[in-house]
């Protein structure tokens, strides 16, 4: 086939995607960087240059520091959710009656809108809610606790919600990885007398290593970008600002678009850094 005859048609087919991505994905990256050095007024849609003022402000602001710290703290979710998701995937990978039901039950939080799931959890976390009752009946706490109102613990409560909401997603990815393992391998190990624990460490983990890497990176990025759970659970109260929640609140509560854009640029910087690490990591494998 001749190359030239397809060039026009190829670009014609790509045009809608490229135009829309240009306007709503590529342009925003540049425009966000521009806004970061400006004061933007939404009323008359004007931007006035103000150098590094936003960055200087962010550098000196405690709230932004705390938001960054919380975003890093959120990375605690990553190992917990990955180990749990792999174990659960292992559990539902067996061909036993009722497995379809269990898989569905674990996936329901994933397909529920975060806003709707958030309202249920607001009630779970109420001081006289299920969590308090559960821990009281186990004898672990005596007093009722305002779970989302206590600065020291609220961010961890948000993380538990993230764990609950997301584990089904990673479970499905691990399930796909597990199903690619030939059954003969496991059967041979059983014949050789390997117990369940040995089989898990010596066969399952090495065989799903690519999935583990992928899921860990996905959930690391997701953890750094966490903010919707903050919107639905605490609105930033009780020291629960995350970096992106800070961006969101600055833009749509304070209407300080310039400062929000500057904070967004800082988050973008971290994400790109992570992406480069990711490319290095995966690039070497191939």
């Amino acid at each position: 086939m001749k190359t030239s005859s397809y060039t026009a048609i190829a670009y014609l087919f790509l045009a809608p995607a490229l135009i829309l991505m240009g306007v709503f994905t590529f342009w925003p990256v540049g425009y966000n960087a521009y806004l970061a050095f400006n004061d933007y007024s939404i009323a008359d849609a004007t931007a006035t240059w103000n150098n590094f003022e936003h960055f200087k402000y962010l550098y000196g602001e405690d709230l932004f520091h705390q938001a960054l710290k919380n975003s890093l703290l959120f990375l605690l979710v990553v190992p917990v959710i990955q180990v749990a998701a792999l174990l659960v995937a292992k559990l539902v990978n067996n061909k036993l009656p009722g497995m379809t039901f269990f898989r569905a039950a674990f996936y329901i939080p994933v397909i529920t809108a975060i806003s709707i799931a958030g309202i249920v959890w607001l009630n779970v976390y109420k001081y006289d809610g299920i969590l308090t009752w559960f821990l009281q009946s186990l004898g672990l706490i005596e007093e009722q606790v305002n779970w989302l109102g206590e600065p020291k613990i609220a961010i961890y409560m948000v993380m538990i919600f993230t764990f609950w909401k997301g584990i089904g997603y990673y479970m499905v990815l691990y399930l796909a990885g597990l199903q690619a393992i030939p059954t003969e391998v496991e059967e041979a190990a059983v014949l050789d007398g390997a117990n369940a624990w040995q089989r898990f460490w010596k066969i399952t983990v090495p065989m799903v290593k690519p999935t583990i890497l992928l899921c860990t990176l996905l959930s690391t990025i997701a953890a750094l970008k966490a903010f919707q759970e903050v919107v639905v659970l605490t609105r930033g109260q009780a020291d629960t600002y995350t970096a992106l929640y800070y961006v969101y609140a600055q833009a749509f509560t304070n209407f300080n678009f310039g400062r929000a854009a500057a904070a967004g640029l800082v988050v973008t910087f971290f994400c790109v850094l992570l992406a480069i690490v990711q490319f290095r990591f995966f690039g070497e494998k191939k």
Binding site: A10, T25, A104, T112
Partner: protein, 289 residues
């Protein structure tokens, strides 16, 4: 004897784990359902009794439907999701085809450019897109007297989301798996590229298109932050935004009603999921490979 005993022990352990985890992922919904169908709200905070409905009835559901514009929200969600799916599928299919099957200058660069957007935090685009939509809306209002695309329009909600790396990548992968003979045969018969795409590629890739449509539907249906920002009038809110605002605002005082609202909101997704469950696993499977 010992072998079957170990097997029985293993099975019990597995089911115990499965049931325990099912309780963990579903207890908020079970509680919500129990509260929602209890007409008597006196023991919704008394556990474990709250998990069993007292004086069962549909009163709270009726209250949600009469007091909250639930049906309007449902309709808005349906319209937004419908157009999101239509545009996402068309754009992804059109872009996936040349990337998978045609040779042309700039192909590698375009593909890398599209994939690279996966690494960027799309949340950062919220502010620029808000500004862009305001300008586009003002432009259309001045030109034709109608905010065709702009703030507080459905198009403003779905247009920024329909051209995404995930859909294009998924369709490219699907098209790459189709045998070249099929395309060559169509070309010999004199088919144009658009006919090849529509008559050969699309029918053969139907499972991938279905998976893309399902993922797009769930994402569009559940989308919350962006539509909450773009849409400013209550009569345009989709379910995820409208119910959140109402149930955490004016109706938050009645827990029974809040829970009934939640059950009603989750129900459409659950019904849909029941019918399409297997696509979720195969679809993600395809996306990972």
């Amino acid at each position: 004897m010992s072998k079957s005993f170990t097997r029985a022990l293993e099975l019990t352990g597995q089911y115990a784990g499965l049931i325990a985890f099912t309780i963990f992922t579903t207890f908020p919904f079970i509680w919500a359902t129990s509260v929602a169908i209890s007409e008597d709200p006196s023991n919704i905070w008394l556990f474990p009794g709250a998990f069993l409905p007292t004086d069962p009835g549909l009163m709270w559901f009726k209250r949600v439907i009469t007091d909250i514009p639930f049906k309007d929200y449902l309709l808005n969600s349906t319209i937004i999701s419908f157009w999101t799916i239509i545009f996402t599928v068309i754009i992804s299919v059109m872009a996936g085809y040349p990337l998978a099957r045609l040779r042309f200058p700039g192909r590698g660069l375009i593909f890398i450019g599209i994939i690279a957007t996966m690494m960027l935090p799309s949340e950062v685009a919220i502010i620029p897109n808000f500004v862009t939509l305001k300008h586009i809306g003002d432009f259309f209002e001045a030109a034709i007297g109608y905010k065709l695309i702009g703030l507080n329009t459905f198009a403003g909600v779905y247009l920024p989301t329909v051209a995404g790396a995930f859909g294009i990548f998924l369709m490219k992968q699907a098209f790459e798996q189709i045998p070249q003979d099929l395309i060559d045969a169509a070309r010999v018969d004199g088919a144009k590229e658009l006919q090849i795409l529509w008559r050969v590629m699309v029918p053969v890739s139907a499972p991938s298109i279905a998976a893309l449509a399902i993922f797009t539907l769930v994402n569009a249906w559940n989308e919350f932050i962006w539509s909450g920002i773009v849409l400013t009038s209550r009569d345009k809110y989709p379910l995820a935004v409208g119910m959140f605002n109402d149930l955490t605002g004016p109706f938050a005082v009645s827990t029974s009603m809040v829970m009934a609202g939640i059950v009603l909101s989750v129900l459409p997704v659950l019904i849909f999921f029941a019918f399409t469950q297997r696509y979720f696993i195969s679809g993600l499977d395809g996306a990972v490979k």
